[in-house]
Amino acid sequence: MDAGIEDLLAAGRHARAFDLVVPAYKDRVFRLACSILKDRAAAEDATQETLVRVWKALPGFDGRAQLGTWIYAITRNTCLMELRRRRPMVSFDDPDSTEAQHAAASVASGPAADPERDNLLRLVETLPRNQQEAVRLFYLEDRSYEAVAEQLGMPLGTVKNLLHRARKRLMELARPDEVKAA
């Protein structure tokens, strides 16, 4: 698919190339935005913004990077700008921070409307941001390490390490209180 798009770009047919970029990348861009922004509406807006930027910048794409790598970099920048715009906001990035400890405590003793699912989602919220992004994206991308590495722009080993630490931490947090206290 990318080879066909890059051929069109080399021939100067940018509009036609963009017609192929949208169906090929919109869902992956959206999933990446979801993993970073953790909000469906914001992720959809970021996907729109990303594709508009891709449209504007496509004639300048020189093929030195892979098309996907280039598009995901634009996506990450768009999402980071959105996160900066949102400040101030409560951050659970640092698991040792007061906010993270408070969040972890509230997870353990919070209300239980749908206890299993709610607890798990709130546990994920207590992870450092880079681990959260990796975990969300890993399961959105059907457990593909390679897809996560490409979309987050990280080496494969880094992604494996992040996912290992994140899931190990989730296992510890998910144990019942009586087991933890034993």
Partner: protein, 183 residues
């Protein structure tokens, strides 16, 4: 502390247990790790707990989808934007603008040189006319330039010298600007 999952897996196998679960191990390493798991209660318990967590994450993490009108909204936004200009096209436009500027500078310099030459010739003619008037009223001056045709040859030579000097000055100015002759 009797729960073996609380102790954790054997340190040498922890990462490989995860990779085995995710299907990332080579067949040979997978066989070795499976053999170990069969014999190790700690690793077996930890791997089972890990598999349970993995299943829950896969089932319970949100899997949002784009709105049905996503494409039409995107097209709407793009329709308000100008068609982007390719980098190569932009370069061509800049080069065209540069060539056009240089050409107009050359033409202006050529016009200025021509006007300078005409002005010099006019000034020479004026000087000659004035000299002729002076000569008509001064026999002493006239005697310096001879008499009859000889006087006119002397005056013509003087005028031509001034004109050539003016043209040379003009050409020198154009050459100093480094723009050459018009194409």
């Amino acid at each position: 502390m009797n729960d073996p999952t609380l102790i954790g897996p054997c340190a040498d196998y922890e990462h490989e247990l995860v990779e085995l679960h995710d299907g990332e191990l080579s067949p040979e390493r997978a066989r070795i790790v499976r053999l170990h798991v069969q014999q190790c209660l700690r690793c077996r318990s930890w791997a089972a707990e890990f598999a349970a967590l993995d299943s829950r994450l896969a089932a319970e993490l949100p899997r949002p989808a784009l709105s049905p009108d996503f494409d039409s909204r995107l097209r709407g936004r793009l329709s308000t934007l100008a068609v982007p200009v390719a980098r190569g096209e932009l370069r061509s436009l800049i080069e065209l603008e540069h060539d056009s500027l240089i050409e107009s500078l050359r033409r202006a310099t050529w016009r200025r040189g021509l006007l300078g030459a005409i002005g010099s010739a006019a000034a020479t003619l004026g000087v000659l006319a004035a000299a002729k008037g002076l000569l008509a009223h001064s026999a002493d001056w006239a005697s310096l330039l001879g008499d009859g045709p000889e006087r006119w040859v002397a005056m013509g030579t003087l005028g031509a010298t001034i004109a050539v000097a003016a043209l040379a000055w003009s050409a020198m100015r154009r050459g100093a600007m480094g723009l050459g002759w018009p194409r």
